[in-house]
Amino acid sequence: MVAALTAMVWAGVVNYRHRKQEQAKMQGPQMLLVPDNGTPSSAAGAVQPAADSSADQGPAWVDPLQDKPAPNFTLEDLQGKKVSLSSFKGKAVVVDFWATWCAPCKIEIPWFEKLHDQYSAQGLEILGVSADDLDKDNKTQNQKDKQQISEFVTKMHMNYPVLIDADSIAKPWGGLDALPTTFFIDRSGKVVAATLGLASKDEIEANIKKALGSGAAS
């Protein structure tokens, strides 16, 4: 009994001391370290990650919004103008979530530009929603973040509306755990198709036709 009580007291003391130490240490400054000049390295060689996307990022993706009404959102564009998805009712809408750090997104964007030109007369709108981080605490950094997105948009000649702050609407859109993620919405506001990861241009175009062809125009 005495041994048990001693062990309990000992465990409590050790635990308390550890927690106090950790709390004190966590109050230290966050320091971002950069390499010094003499960066050692092995010779760079060509590597090819596995050809398939078999990395375990959880179960296979299932479109969480298939045949459901697209969740409305109101986001700002790069000029600060608020844009709501609901304002496009009656049109077929492609909502493409992308980021400047996403290499496969850069492949799809020129296709969206061409498809936008090709199908806008039939009632297609494309919205590119950037998932790039935006510093919401630091105004100067926030401006820099927006500037970086803006430079990318200019460089890529994106000819359709670009909205920012995808993170703020990620939950109703299925989490947006990977990019690009693209939803195809028909004229009634229903999600008729979606793709995760780089899709082929043919698949994107087929989904656009599906969105244009279904749902009653208002």
Binding site: A3, Q30, D36, V47, Q48, P49, S53, D177, L198
Partner: protein, 173 residues
């Protein structure tokens, strides 16, 4: 006859004490939780503990592993918009991390853009930190910030937790 209940109650107290210790997770242990997020693409492998001579700079080779089928940008990606791999540490009092060396990236050409050459880390890679510590035991906590992609999609930037127990002796053990 009275010994058995006493022994049982003693054992129960011991279990409670052990349970209390196990339930009280430390801050850095909590930071490793996924909190509903997808699993990490990078894991810190080792070492968990190093021994240094107090007051003298030592180097620690920190081993990380990128999940099979994925790659992360190196510390020096070639595209301005790509997110570099970085080590972020909270220096506890008594520990100074003077510099960190990152390995060069390997060239990777995505199948969807064979002419591009990205600078990436795959598999296991080593980051070397140069550390000085005062006598005693210290816990260095931090995170590796990275952004991972597979062959046709990319994942938002994440931070893989890192914890290193530093024992700084007056005389090297």
């Amino acid at each position: 006859m009275t010994r058995l209940p006493l022994l049982l109650s003693g054992a129960a107290l011991l279990l409670c004490a052990a349970g209390a210790v196990a339930m009280q997770k430390l801050p850095w242990q909590k930071s490793g939780a996924n909190n509903g997020q997808p699993p990490q693409s990078v894991a810190y492998l080792y070492p968990e503990q190093i021994t240094l001579t107090a007051g003298k700079q030592g180097s620690v080779e920190m081993h990380f592993r990128v999940k099979d089928g994925l790659h992360i940008n190196s510390h020096t990606p070639r595209e301005k918009s790509f997110i570099p791999t970085q080590l972020i540490v909270a220096e506890p009092s008594g520990v100074k991390v003077s510099s960190v060396d990152f390995p060069s990236g390997s060239d990777y050409s995505p199948a969807f853009s064979p002419s591009d050459k990205l600078s990436v880390y795959t598999g296991e890679f080593v980051v070397t930190a140069h550390i000085t510590a005062t006598p005693g035991e210290h816990l260095l906590e931090g995170a590796l910030r990275y952004q991972a992609c597979d062959t046709n999609s990319c994942y938002p930037p994440r931070e893989a937790p890192v914890a290193l127990d530093i024992i700084a002796d007056q005389v090297r053990r």
